[in-house]
Symmetry: C2
Subunit: 201 residues, 2 copies
DNA sequence: ATGGTAATATACCAATCGGTATTTTTTATT
DNA sequence: AATAAAAAATACCGATTGGTATATTACCAT
């Protein structure tokens, strides 16, 4: 019965997990320390014993939410055989993202964190930017590999496609959430599918 | 020297205009009443004499920011001759939206308000949703008219195109802002241009 | 079992939060 | 110029904010 995690590390993880949805729905400014203590049933002393401040919790929570999403994507991409299928994983995942429990409540953490932090919180912004650029790079890599495998046209603008795919997904999520209509996202994903089809040889 | 606006109406307008950028950058939760009094150099008594509460100011500010953007778009669309050109107005405007003074600081108010309010503030969410659906309808109308004018293919899925265009723009803005790269938005707008080209006969 | 340490809880802080009741000032009408 | 009404300023409210210093508890190695 050995646990690798120390008591503090376990508590830290517990705090992150139980406040993940709160930060992702209410945002950084909208989440208070008492929200955190209420949800975790811990006291301020415990929170501040494991984190420097509220921002530190928010950063850890973003990390958690982001990697949760990334993991789901990564697994499905690994299973896909063709590069077309691999790209289509994004479309499929977000095509019914309302239902998947893989997603933290409150929608895409990248979208939420980016739009709130881009003018207010340099650290959160930096972290969100890194996530976007990593995501972009992953898509570009898939496209390049697809080109090498003669699956995609040789002259595809991988950067443009990657950014457009991300934009369609994030913009689509925004629309779907504010209009309470998953089908709106589905329609946008249809265009994403088209975009992916177009780069095939 | 008669002014149509009463004193109160002028003050109200003044408050809206001088806090427009604050709400659009810091968000609803991130903007405090003291932010408002500091910026306007007015007192709480004056603010609460002209608005019910903070939410009421935020709603008026959104209205202001949104109609400011809408006006720019509307004017340019009116000047465009073909329906293709009219649709391309969106691409052109957002293609250098960082520079245009027509835009409130902090980016697109629809994107900002939607992502913050969708899980927290029903009134702001409702207003943002209305804006998205109005925008969508405007694009759909342009497409339909373009079809009637034999400029666009008769079997175009106007709803899908409209939603995808909005998603590309809003998603592109999010990416550009968080990565501090206007060129990232330009690349996404390139895809938007392609999307518009594709529906032409 | 014990002592040291790690972790959590308690109690408290000044500052700020959104909001209101009241007073003062400004404006418009006569 | 006098006056009533409208608008803005002042002064205040309890509650909550993020954060800290200190006390208490839980844990672990000896």
């Amino acid at each position: 019965m050995e646990s690798k995690l120390s008591k503090a590390e376990k508590t830290r993880q517990f705090i992150i997990e139980t406040t993940a949805d709160i930060f992702n729905t209410k945002g950084y400014a909208g989440t208070s320390m008492s929200d955190i203590t209420d949800a975790t049933r811990l006291t301020k002393g415990s929170i501040y014993g494991n984190f420097e401040n509220k921002e530190d919790v928010a950063l850890a929570v973003f990390e958690h939410n982001y990697s949760k999403v990334r993991q789901v994507i990564r697994e499905r991409i690994a299973q896909a055989t063709t590069f077309h299928q691999k790209l289509m994983v994004y479309v499929q995942v977000y095509d019914h993202f309302t239902r998947t429990a893989h997603f933290p409540r409150g929608g895409c953490p990248i979208l939420n964190t980016s739009t709130e932090a881009d003018d207010t919180n340099p650290l959160l912004k930096e972290r969100a930017a890194k996530a976007v650029l990593e995501w972009k790079q992953n898509i570009q890599d898939l496209i390049k590999e697809g080109i090498n495998a003669k699956e995609f046209k040789f002259d595809v603008d991988d950067e443009r496609i990657a950014l457009s795919l991300i934009a369609l997904i994030e913009g689509g999520i925004m629309i779907a959430k504010v209009t309470d209509s998953q089908s709106n996202l589905n329609r946008v994903m249809k265009t994403a599918e088209l975009l992916i089809k177009m780069i095939r040889v």
